[in-house]
Symmetry: C2
Subunit: 510 residues, 2 copies
């Protein structure tokens, strides 16, 4: 890295997709901004229904108490008779003195907004982001949850035919969604420690634009509790990956829903709650777009999140938001605003108390699950798994190479469409019959009454012809993903079945 | 229309965009469905955080009472001390007998869902849709509000370079959003009665694919209280337009946010509340996609709506939903489910009482606004407007042809980029200086402290070279849109300013 690159911010506008560059501002939002030119302006312009026309007067949420007096907020909350606290938002025309201190009145939250949402809501997102990441110079823009945020990043950064780098096993829905946009995936190897920096650099330095098309300029990665493998990047790898991004002019899409579910202490300093420093926290060049989610800290049905990115990416993402769902739903704006900033709300410190307590529970679940797994499944000798450092998944290796019907295929074959549940293109040249054995194992599990997620669902759907390799992904899909986020009651019965299915499967010669 | 077309449904799959056809199902949702193969199945597959991990115990909404005992729900509701009713959703583990009758427990509403959302939520959308439209054979799929629904229709039906028909003045945000997808707009003339069927047919029958590209296969239109012009299609025109759609194989995107704000009685029979029959209600061929909104009946901040379409379009739209925001937010699912189906909710009949009462208020607002307009603005002689039959806007013609500086341009000019606030391509060949005069008028209004929406914002952004006409849109942009949905207090002061600006403007010779 040269001095100029570290000292001044590069202009990254060449990363924007053609779609984004041809996108105009939502013209109504332009008029809306004009109407704020001075504070006395009377607007007859926008069709904003007056709040007296809403049939809703108040929204109230009963939530867990998180004050210092509650020793372990999560554990206390499990008693259905434990007290709750509440925050609410009311129509301001009926507010008494006591109500007027709510951080956002219902009228404002349920009205039309620009793509940013209401100011209070923006402030709430910023409070949380600055507390945990303190990014150099970034803005927060609302999304409808993690998936929406990621897909919008793809729209922001990729043209049809573009190549994007990702963990070789990755969460299927976003990588799948990108295919219809014409994006080609480029796998980067992962090991127990997550994405391997040297492999990332090798893919980039070896890239031949003649045969493979445009060099990848985007990396999509899950740094903590990687889904599905459960691995977490340590600080050293993060620094290396960021340096590679600067060297090769990559934008990093940091998809980090399991950030708060880290079970090992960080090796970074000065990060709250001993959490690992995020990519965005070290993003001096403005080349990280972090995708935030409320699904794991509050609930999946929130469908609320945000992206943290440079002002330049923010501006273009804003146009995209205003040209789709327009802004995040008012009920979610109320919830987040009142939770972080409201007089009855948790505040950032209260939020931190909740997530620290929550991750202890996830850690208990992980440990509980692992004990049962070792007893019921690993004990068969046909499968193994290590406890993940973060997230909610166990990545279970099925020892298919010890299966009686395991075979090395005699020569390279071109049956590229066989086996993968997604039905998307895969590499050819596999050397094992793992695909067939995994399909059989998955079906046996279903018949016995248990569902696991087969690793084939996560195998990055990449163009076989571009990555003909001696070590194809299809020879490493002997894994299943199991979660410990579900009901405690089903862990033991479920894993007992898996153990039995494995024993039967490995003793079947035909 | 031949007998075969009326008797059997045509296969409309050729309308699907390449993007949609290349889109795969969200693979996690496939696994989720497999896990429901039998009711005893234990799932360790999906990372669905157990509801005990949510910090929320209850959500409660205080809303307007709408029972028969309340004579005029809207008017009663305006008293801040009037009683409210409430509906709520609670975590089912703490529910007492009385709570268990809630239509959807919080656990279910805040969990992950397939793209359909929860079953109860689907049921609520169906109840409303069947009551008002009773479509022949259609399904309801959630969206994040009207704009999201429309943009998803464009993604469903159009490839880059496709031509789509629309009202020549149309709501800017969706038509603008479509440009970056590579859609070309094709304007259809409108008059006081809305889109002119004979013009629609003429555009289609005259279409020359050699010079104009692929014949349009989609019509995007707002049938009630058209935004911005306020006009409403009568039943006869609707029938003619639907017949043309069948004859020319069009799909109609029916964007109808002002459906409930109709002020004249319908000329159709058997439609509740004397509302005009919608296109989807007559859609025997499955070629209408109706886009529903809660923004005008409940509040814009709901960011919740749905599309009503044939099972075939539904299936592909579902994949699109599952590959973007995934499903509508839980708080909105709770609100709609409890409102329509919950034990404390309004039910469909209560909803109908609310919207009937609400439209009376809008009608009062319209009449009030019109009286002030006539007195303050029309009286100048420089502007005029007719009361709309539906919606929330007055479409005001500025009599620019009487302005002292009005001029006919000496010959056709090619300055196509002048004047339109959107900065998108416009037609050339205009014969008047309306653009310059309107810009000046708009700026004068701003300086005087009032914002109106200039019609240029709504002028369909279409390719000038394809529609060189003797009657260009730029010579008909002498309109502004004003709303009567805002605060009563600002109507008179705002319109007084408009009157004064007009007087000054029309007396300015330089």
């Amino acid at each position: 890295m040269n001095i100029a690159m570290t000292m001044s911010k590069p202009d990254l506008r060449h990363h924007l997709s053609s779609e984004v560059l041809s996108r105009k501002e939502n013209p109504m939002k332009v008029v809306q901004r004009l109407s704020m030119r001075n504070s006395n302006m009377i607007s007859l312009a926008n069709g904003d229904p007056h709040f007296s026309l809403y049939p809703i007067r108040k929204v109230k949420f009963e939530v867990a108490p998180v004050s210092d007096e509650v020793e372990d907020p999560f554990m206390s909350w499990q008693n259905p008779n434990s007290p709750s606290i509440s925050f609410s938002s009311s129509r301001s025309d009926i507010s008494s003195k006591s109500l007027s201190s709510e951080s956002i009145p219902l009228n404002a939250a349920l009205q039309y907004h620009g793509g940013t949402g209401s100011d209070v809501f923006v402030h709430a997102m910023e409070e949380l982001t600055n507390y945990y990441h303190n990014p150099p110079n970034h803005k927060c823009l609302n999304t409808l949850g993690n998936m929406d945020g990621i897909v919008k990043c793809f729209r922001l950064l990729a043209n049809p035919g573009d190549n994007i780098l990702a963990d070789e096993f990755a969460f299927g829905p976003p990588t799948n969604a990108a295919l219809s946009q014409g994006i080609n995936w480029v796998p980067v190897r992962i090991d127990k420690g997550g994405l391997i920096p040297s492999d990332l650099e090798k893919v980039l330095s070896d890239w031949d634009e003649e045969t493979k098309g445009r060099k990848p300029r985007v990396l999509y990665t899950v740094p903590c509790g990687q889904n599905p493998t459960g691995c977490t990047l340590n600080l050293q790898r993060r620094k290396e990956i960021y340096a590679i991004a600067c060297k090769y002019d990559l934008v990093i899409i940091e998809d980090d829903p399991y950030y708060f579910l880290q079970y090992s202490d960080s090796d970074g300093d000065a990060v709250p709650s001993n959490l690992m420093p995020s990519f965005v926290s070290m993003d001096t060049e403005g080349r990280v777009i972090r995708v935030e989610s409320c699904s794991k800290t509050i609930a999946p049905g929130m469908r609320l999140g945000w992206v943290v990115c440079s002002p330049m990416f923010y501006e273009h993402m804003l146009h995209l938001v205003e040209s789709s769902a327009q802004f995040s739903h008012g009920f979610g704006q109320i919830f987040l605003s009142e939770m972080i900033l409201g007089p009855q709300g948790w505040g950032v410190l209260g939020f931190d108390r909740w997530v620290q307590s929550l991750r202890k529970e996830y850690q208990r679940r992980r440990d509980h699950f692992q004990v049962i797994f070792d007893h019921e499944v690993a004990s068969t000798g046909y499968a193994s798994a290590e406890a993940p450092e973060a997230g909610m998944f166990l990545w279970i290796r099925i020892h298919l190479d010890e299966h009686p019907r395991f075979k090395l295929l005699p020569s390279r074959t071109a049956d590229s469409k066989n086996g993968l549940i997604q039905g998307v293109p895969t590499i050819y040249g596999r050397k094992t019959n793992f695909l067939e054995l995994m399909d059989e194992f998955f079906e046996n599990c279903l018949n016995a009454g248990v569902v696991l997620t087969p690793s084939s669902v996560f195998a990055l759907p990449y163009e076989s012809s571009l990555f003909n390799t001696d070590d194809p992904l299809e020879d490493r899909i002997n894994y299943v993903r199991a979660t410990f986020a579900g009901p405690y009651e089903t862990m033991e019965p479920g894993l007992k079945i898996v153990g039995q299915v494995l024993r039967d499967f490995f003793s079947s010669n035909e």
